[in-house]
Symmetry: C2
């Protein structure tokens, strides 16, 4: 009955025919032959094979959300290399071997959807987003022209416009692109800022422009420096700013400040720079204002939290990664740009084999020449379909819930014995940074000795977490601060109980240290 029901849904009667054959074919014969499409009569074998893979994936998904399952079945690299035959051969494998490889790959994968996976800014797995990504893979096309990706190009247009409206630019006007991650989005912004001030740089390079200097917040993401290195600006020309005094110093020294990257949600502390104050400075000195909201940009979707980004509408460009706080499957990062046409002017090279000027449709939809990439993966559909399924209010509820969980964690540990907070006050985002002090070092008199011990606590607890596979959370040192836990919550599957579990687990695994 199930088979028939499924078959009826398949269009044009193909399904019905296939499902009948599927029953007969589900023995072992198809595996030995392995004649998938485009082989003649490969239809049924293909359906059977793909359905087997889907069954494996569905089981993995259900398992991933089960708290009784491990987050990770950890093995050291040299062990893992031995645990399966990963080598590539001259001869083909059987489809059976392919299914075995799929199972092995998932067995040792990290369950990023698991309610107790907190390790990165991107966590969780949205079912509609996943379905959309499966569809994207099946459509297997390229964003460079309307010709080969008509729907996806339109959806990118619709979605970027909506995001610009939410930023607060009039009528959602402006420009933008989905890029392969926040680091590239930030690099785009720096590239545009330089081109805006010195368009001749495109043809003549950096030798045609004065010594440029960029400013960013103290705890900004490392991609600002990576971008500066790549673009030939140099990391020494990126200055960590605390006040507009730095800009004056640079001017006096004969540098040309061209770019300020304010951070909306720093990677470690989740802090928000004061965007209005920064925009005043940028206006005064006529500097491009970029907001790196890769992590914090999604708070724009929340009526309760969007005030943290007040002033974002004054920015020239904004990075906003829906693959972080909005739980869109990786990768999904947008760069939004206030000025129309600048991206095209900055990056276009007029490749005549792609962007023919005598095509029969409106060429403004051939957006490929805006990009640094030539081929560009379709990252839009998963965001668009999730937005459709949740509505703006669904994203808002999801984001608000994560912030509520982090406030719960903060309140739970801020006065708890054995805990110290890394920064003062309530977190602005879902980042809660803290030290756990095992009983043995809690009352150590020698501050230096205590610090030395404390530095080793988080790595050991983390290693044990991974070996037990019960949960995952990140740790790190920062400046003169020894290793602390950086807890972040972007996982829609997490609950108050999972926060309780994390704390219990840290104490269980760390009490003897």
């Amino acid at each position: 009955a199930w088979c028939q029901a499924a078959a009826q849904k398949l269009s044009g009667g193909i399904g019905s025919k296939l499902c009948g054959m599927l029953g007969k074919e589900r023995g072992w014969g198809w595996r030995r032959r392995g004649n998938l499409l485009p082989a003649t009569d490969g239809d049924t074998k293909t359906m059977t094979f793909l359905q087997e893979v889907v069954d494996i994936l569905l089981a993995y998904i259900v398992e991933s959300f089960d708290r009784e399952t491990k987050v990770i079945d950890f093995h050291y690299p040299n062990e893992l290399l031995q645990m399966n035959n990963w080598e590539l051969q001259d001869e083909p494998a059987t489809l059976d071997d392919i299914l075995i490889s799929c199972r092995a790959t998932l067995k040792y994968a990290i369950k990023t959807a698991h309610p107790r996976y907190f390790n990165q800014l991107s966590t969780g797995l949205d079912m509609v987003g996943l379905a959309a990504d499966w569809l994207t893979s099946t459509a297997n096309t390229n964003m460079f022209t309307y010709e080969v990706a008509p729907v996806f190009v339109l959806l990118e247009y619709v979605t970027l416009k909506k995001m610009r409206e939410i930023i607060g630019w009039p009528d959602g006007r402006g420009d933008g692109i989905f890029s392969p991650g926040g680091a590239i989005s930030n690099m785009y912004a720096m590239l545009l800022a330089r081109f805006k001030m010195f368009p001749e740089v495109k043809e003549k390079g950096m030798s045609s422009v004065p010594r440029l200097v960029a400013f960013t917040s103290e705890h900004s993401h490392f991609s600002i420096k990576k971008g500066a290195a790549a673009l030939g600006i140099g990391t020494e020309s990126v200055i960590c700013i605390k006040a507009d005094q730095s800009i004056l110093v640079a001017l006096v020294q004969g540098f040309v400040p061209f770019f300020v990257s304010a951070t909306a949600g720093t990677t470690v502390y989740g802090a928000f720079d004061p965007l209005i104050a920064i925009s005043d400075i940028c206006k005064k000195y006529n500097i491009w204002m970029h907001v790196d909201g890769a992590w914090g940009g999604s708070l724009l979707m929340s009526r309760r939290h969007r005030w943290k980004l007040d002033g974002v509408e004054r920015a020239n460009s904004v990075t906003w990664n829906p693959h972080k706080m909005m739980s869109v499957p990786l990768q999904c990062s947008a760069l939004l740009v206030r000025e129309e046409g600048l991206m095209q002017n900055c990056n276009q090279m007029h490749a005549c084999y792609l962007f023919q000027q005598d095509k029969h449709y409106d060429l403004s939809y051939d957006t490929g020449d805006k990009a640094l990439q030539c081929g560009r993966h379709v990252d839009i559909f998963k965001l668009w379909l999730m937005w459709r399924a949740k509505g703006t209010i669904g994203f808002e509820a999801q984001i608000d819930k994560c912030l509520e969980l982090s406030e719960y964690l903060y309140n739970k540990i801020k006065d708890r014995e054995g805990y110290e907070m890394v920064f003062d006050g309530k977190p602005q985002h879902t980042n809660v940074c803290f030290w756990y002090l095992p009983p043995g070092i809690r009352y150590m008199e020698d501050k230096e000795e205590r610090k030395k011990h404390l530095h080793k606590v988080a790595p050991v607890i983390k290693a044990r977490m991974m070996e037990y596979g019960t949960t995952m959370v990140s740790y790190q040192p920062q400046g003169d601060k020894v290793n602390f836990f950086r807890m972040v919550i972007s996982n829609p599957a997490a609950t108050f109980e999972d926060i309780d579990f994390l704390i219990e687990e840290i104490e269980r695994l760390g009490q003897d240290l």
Copy 2:
């Protein structure tokens, strides 16, 4: 029976339980509620929903390979905007609406798997590659650390090594990365070449180095210039080379040649630069030699055709896109680098929240700091699984077949009435560039008038192809050459009959022009 068979395959008995519930739940109730995972008891609703999506995808796949189906159901952008409600709303949609959106998206998608889709260098859809991409989406993780992508990091290591062995570097030693497309791979190469010669550029920028100049082949890909613009080198410092005379001129003028990009398989003509001769020049002047084999690199897999890349083993870096000639789903592009450690030195920024130095495993597997990106999509699994399924000999057979088809096309039209070839001699790759002259202009005396007419022929035929939806092939002008068809074959589904069909279709659609 089908249901039970599938259920037995699901691990841990989950499948069996779910499949039972699935039968009961397959009414309409689940759609109204729409409570997918991570909702409590969301398992069955999730399985049902995802299975419905998979059914839609399976039907689309089978249709895509059916020659009776259109390649494209074309609509102009303003029409397509009207044909569905694509707008994003505040309120959530039902899961029914989500399924409708999936169907609508596929209805207007280009069937890139269709045996008669020849429009780009990336065509076709491999079933194992697709399965691998579905698994990748489900695993939803990030390549930056072994910690969160243990298997994928190992598979990248294994596969890059194998590709370097095929290039011919001793024991497959060297470095590399999978990047978001050939343009970015080429940009990486230029970045590494600059850093190798002037490591201080990372900190001090272009003001610390002399005027650099890069050389590339006349018909090289536009990404070389895009890269030069982005990196602050400037497009005017990219010189299209014909002989080593250009390098001498540059030296005399006081420029520092730092980078030569030879092309193995140009985008339009599919031509291969003479790599041995170029490597001699690079050696003489101590210049970084890059081979852009985005399109032609895959010929290294073919014993019959790899001589076209003789000398590639002398390169410092090679771009090779398995998503083109090897039909791996988009995106899958590798940059291979001969020198070990250089990528790390060039791009690392030591982010302490990701690359903690006191982790409990071998840190050489945390490859993220080599990249310009922070988060990086998993592009490796589809290539690895396809390689596994086909073996090296399977890729070889697939590539050889495409080259055979293109030779068939060349032989068919080179002396046929109404055709003129754009370049002399047999194509080196699968690119066959030709004009079709409709009878009306075939014997025009006035050469200029004939040229003017001919320029309009290909765009009209292409527009008609898209409106009928029967096939898709690219056209373009090049220099003083008016619009011609650029036929490329990378689609494993294509046959001799499809080539015959293309020619018949061009004649059918163009005879009245």
